[in-house]
């Protein structure tokens, strides 16, 4: 067992866990942050995507111990109370989801994309979502949602705050 200190959604969290343990397991089993999903455990589906220092990473293949110094954001992070993040709003408005199981990971990938690229082209969007599988096949609505979110982030003053 090892003591692992983490910074998740802006809060310090400490867990006692096997040093080999994945970030995904820590989130779900130790911290009850169950919005992040397991789909494959081998970095292929993207359901477990979280932000690590603003970049989209697969938490299933990230050892928790290696990210102690970094800022981690999970799907529980972006909304402020009942006020959704513009990406979440856009997913709702475009109905960019069906079963919803890929959605948390998909949204985190999109947040990361829009953090680094405020006006992604269609092919940049497709590229950045290549690691997120949606078996329901909601891709075209997801792409529309990304475009919509980009526009609303650009328009809103708080957009920069939300980008964070």
């Amino acid at each position: 067992m090892a003591t692992i200190n983490l910074a998740i959604n802006g809060r310090p969290r400490t867990v006692e866990a096997d040093p080999q343990i994945s970030l995904l397991t820590v989130l779900r089993e130790n911290l009850d942050l169950i919005g992040t999903k397991y789909g494959c455990g081998e970095g292929q589906c993207g359901a477990c995507t979280v932000l690590i220092d603003g970049r989209a990473q697969r938490s299933c293949i990230t050892r928790a111990e290696t990210v102690g110094q970094k800022q981690i954001t999970t799907i529980e992070g972006p909304a402020h109370g009942e006020r959704l993040h513009p990406v979440q709003e856009a997913f709702l408005e475009e109905d960019a989801l069906q079963c919803g199981y890929c959605t948390p990971g998909m949204i985190m990938s999109v947040v990361a994309l829009l953090n680094r690229n405020h006006h992604p082209t269609q092919s940049e969007i497709i590229d950045s979502l290549n690691g997120n599988i949606c078996r329901c096949g909601a891709y075209s609505r997801i792409i529309s949602a990304v475009q919509k979110a980009a526009t609303s982030l650009a328009k809103s003053e708080i957009g920069t705050g939300a980008r964070q």
């Binding site: 169950i34 397991y38 081998e42 919803g100 949204i107 599988i133 949606c134």
Partner: protein, 751 residues
């Protein structure tokens, strides 16, 4: 009344907010106090007697709960159709993933080593792995002849037509297995209490299938079994019958240890052990007149059912009824069978047999066109079913069907003719070849034949104490939009805002049995019942004078509140009744196979890279007639999603088998298309004025799985002038075929 329509409008998805915030609760997100975790020890061999079982060293076995077949309180079966599949193997195994014993522990991370430490001695028996091996009966592995089920459909006089034929065209077509690959793996939690009975929570499509299976397995009465559907992360048929197995396992462990037990499959176990689409082989022999009209034909269809019956008879039924497609067959004989092999049972997957037989047929139509010397368009137009004609099962087409118009519209929208010409010209140069292909097809909505009558589904609508409305159904949401559309239907019927209607969680203690959520039946069949039950609510309120002929949402609310305050629980029920004119003969397999058919023409444009032999789909047009579209965004989503899975089925997804076991059961080596591989699917709807389901809606969910494979393979043939008759079609298959440069087989069949 609000006066605004709700049906036909894309209202927000009921569970959308929970899904975008990560709050939606899937089964692995639920933790019960004192809960243990379960795991399954499976066979490692395809067919064998089971010998000694040893619990190896290095594991604290006294901390584990162990369950074997001996611990089953009731019958050792997963009750479904034939009741031949054991819950846990007892003495013999019939496929290499068959469950033998179960373990549980409070630390889920200790389970994999424990499973690996159980060793089982096997006394192996010869096994069968293909349809062809099963047909030889070199071993009898099921019943007396390895045949789970067979059907014979006969119309007219097939034997008499061959001598009248100007052309006889033959072909053999094959389709592979396909993994559903919902992103949420299968999972279940069970909790048992001698007083309360058994409760399970899980990722599932059909609560009452699980309910039935648990009653038989645990020897419990109906009121002592409760099944609750959690948010379900995709299903596509893959959570139709298999959840009964996992529920059974969790239930046995829960009974043994007296604590709740959760079983969640990891991706490897889910891919290896759960059901896949049935592999198939279809043979066509068709007699045609000089001018390309079908005089008649023989269709021989065989599907590989795996080791146990499970749903194969029903999958085979749908495959059989769809084998003649959207065409008029004056004479036809369809012989169909599902055979046993020593692989895990194949099962439900969107389309349910129809994608297999329609792939064969729509490839065969292109072959016929070549032999007869007509275009793929013309051969179809000359043979399309027309109003008043009868299908292969002698169901009369009563709707104002106009398939020629549907096809012409699809050709126009896809710019088919211009593209076909342009590609032919451009293909003479360059390092790639382009082609365009079509598929015209149908999909029956609802249960086959007498199925809906036997199900006799019930739906409830409740007027609640706060004046809102609640829909009570066991129909489940797994992404398709069940919750949203059924609420729309109730809201529209009652003239209330969509927000005033909610839907109950699919919990067998709380909702009636509205049947399984399969077969594209929810909107058409269940939706219609929601409509009648909702009308019952309105009539009661009007009858008791609480509501006038026209009312506002607020007046309705207050009427409803008054009703509940005065009389208590306020519910209205509707039960399915088969229309009087629906006739079906199960023995002869003749009659009204489905209450309604959806019709479609799909056009695919494909490019073959002549260096890598990679095939890509550049444009995909999906035009369909599905009756009234109740929610355009959801409906489009269903079509685009189905087409994406169809493209995977055609060009990417190959299950590699070795001795009955999937060899590539990982997302790294079972390849499916991602956003980068998929074209934008252009979805169009046509309405022909149908009167079947709620507000005229027909089924929609499965239809889009049927068309992509033949349309794409027809496009590849158009590009390369080489026929391909089996899917998946991978670059190596294209390469080999080009190498062989073989002549189209059908040339041999020309008279």
């Amino acid at each position: 009344m609000t006066g605004d329509h709700i049906v036909g409008v894309s209202v927000p998805r009921k569970e959308g907010r929970d899904k975008v915030t990560g709050r939606a609760q899937y089964v692995d997100d639920l933790t019960l106090p004192g809960m243990l975790f379960g795991a399954t020890v499976r066979s490692q061999v395809p067919r064998s007697k089971i010998g000694k079982i040893t619990f190896g060293p290095g594991i604290a076995w006294d901390e584990f709960i162990v369950v074997t077949a001996r611990d089953i309180p009731g019958k050792n079966v997963i009750a479904l159709i034939a009741n031949d599949q054991p819950c846990l193997a007892d003495g013999v195994v019939n496929h290499p993933e068959e469950p033998i014993l179960l373990l549980a522990h409070s630390d889920r991370h200790l389970l994999p080593q424990a499973v690996a430490a159980v060793s089982i001695e096997y006394d192996q028996l010869p096994a069968l792995f293909t349809v062809e091996q099963s047909e030889t009966r070199s071993e009898v592995i099921w019943g007396s002849d390895n045949i789970f089920k067979s059907y014979l459909v006969e119309k007219g006089d097939v034997d008499g037509i061959w001598k009248k034929a100007d052309y006889i065209v033959e072909g053999e077509y094959k389709t592979g297995a396909q993994e559903q690959l919902y992103i949420e793996n299968n999972g279940m939690i069970a909790s048992f209490d001698a007083q309360q009975g058994m409760t399970v929570w899980g990722s599932l499509q059909c609560p009452f299938y699980v309910h039935k299976a648990l009653m038989a397995l645990c020897n419990l009465t109906a009121d002592k079994v409760r099944v609750v559907q959690m948010e379900t992360g995709g299903a596509f048929g893959g959570k139709e019958e298999y959840p009964s197995m996992i529920a059974a396992h969790a239930a046995l462990l829960a009974i043994k240890c007296g604590r709740p037990v959760k079983i969640i499959y990891d991706r490897l176990e889910d891919m290896a052990a759960t059901t896949k689409r049935h592999p198939s082989r279809t043979r066509h022999r068709t007699a045609l007149s000089k001018d390309g009209r079908i005089l008649g034909g023989e269709i021989e269809l065989t599907i590989d059912g795996g080791a146990y019956v499970t749903l194969s008879p029903v999958v085979l039924s749908r495959a059989t009824i769809h084998a003649g497609g959207a065409y008029y067959w004056p004479n036809v004989r369809i012989t169909a069978k599902a055979v046993a092999t020593n692989a895990p049972p194949h099962g439900a997957f969107r389309g349910f047999g129809a994608p297999q037989s329609l792939f064969a047929l729509e490839r065969h139509m292109d072959r016929i066109a070549q032999v007869v010397g007509l275009s793929p368009v013309e051969i179809r137009k000359r043979n399309f079913l027309q109003p008043g004609q009868m299908t292969t099962t002698e169901q009369t087409v009563r709707e104002p069907l106009d398939l020629v118009r549907l096809l012409d519209r699809a050709l126009e929208l896809s710019d088919y003719h211009a593209k076909k010409q342009r590609f032919a010209k451009e293909n003479e140069l360059g390092t790639s070849r382009k082609g365009i292909g079509i598929a015209a097809f149908l999909h029956g909505a609802g249960f086959t034949g007498s199925g809906e009558r036997n199900l006799s589904s019930v739906v409830g609508v409740e007027g609640c104490a706060d004046g809102t409305i609640k829909v009570l159904v066991s129909s489940t949401e797994f992404g398709q939009g069940t919750k949203t559309v059924l609420c729309q239907i109730a809201a529209e019927t009652l003239g209330l805002p969509y927000e005033n209607v909610e839907i109950a969680q699919a919990d067998t203690d709380q909702v009636p049995n509205s049947g399984p959520t399969v077969a594209s039946r929810t909107v058409m069949v269940v939706g219609k019942l929601v409509q009648s039950a909702a009308l019952g609510i309105k009539q009661t309120l009007m009858g008791s004078g609480l509501l006038g002929d026209s009312y506002s949402a607020e007046q309705f609310r207050s009427a409803c509140r008054t009703q509940v305050a005065a009389h208590g629980q306020f519910r209205s029920w509707a039960r399915y009744e088969a229309p009087a004119d629906v006739f079906w003969d199960d023995d002869k397999y003749r009659g009204e196979a489905y209450a309604a058919f959806a019709w479609a023409v799909y056009v695919a444009e494909a490019t073959v890279d002549m260096t890598t032999y990679n095939v890509s789909v550049d444009d995909f047009l999906a035009l369909q007639e599905v009756g009234k579209v109740l929610h355009p965004v959801l409906a489009r989503g269903q079509i685009a999603g189905g087409v994406a899975q169809g493209i995977g089925y055609t060009l990417y997804e190959k299950v590699i088998w070795q001795n009955g076991r999937m060899q590539n059961g990982q997302m790294t080596n079972y390849i499916m298309p991602t956003s980068a591989d998929l074209p934008v699917v252009r979805v169009f709807f046509e309405e022909m004025g149908n009167v079947h389901g709620a507000f005229g809606a027909k089924g929609i969910g499965e239809l889009p799985m049927d068309g992509p494979a033949p349309a794409i393979v027809n496009a590849v043939e158009d590009a390369l002038k080489v026929p391909f008759d089996s899917i998946p079609l991978l670059p190596e298959d294209v390469f080999e075929a080009l190498l062989a440069k073989r002549e189209p087989q059908s040339v041999g069949g020309v008279r």
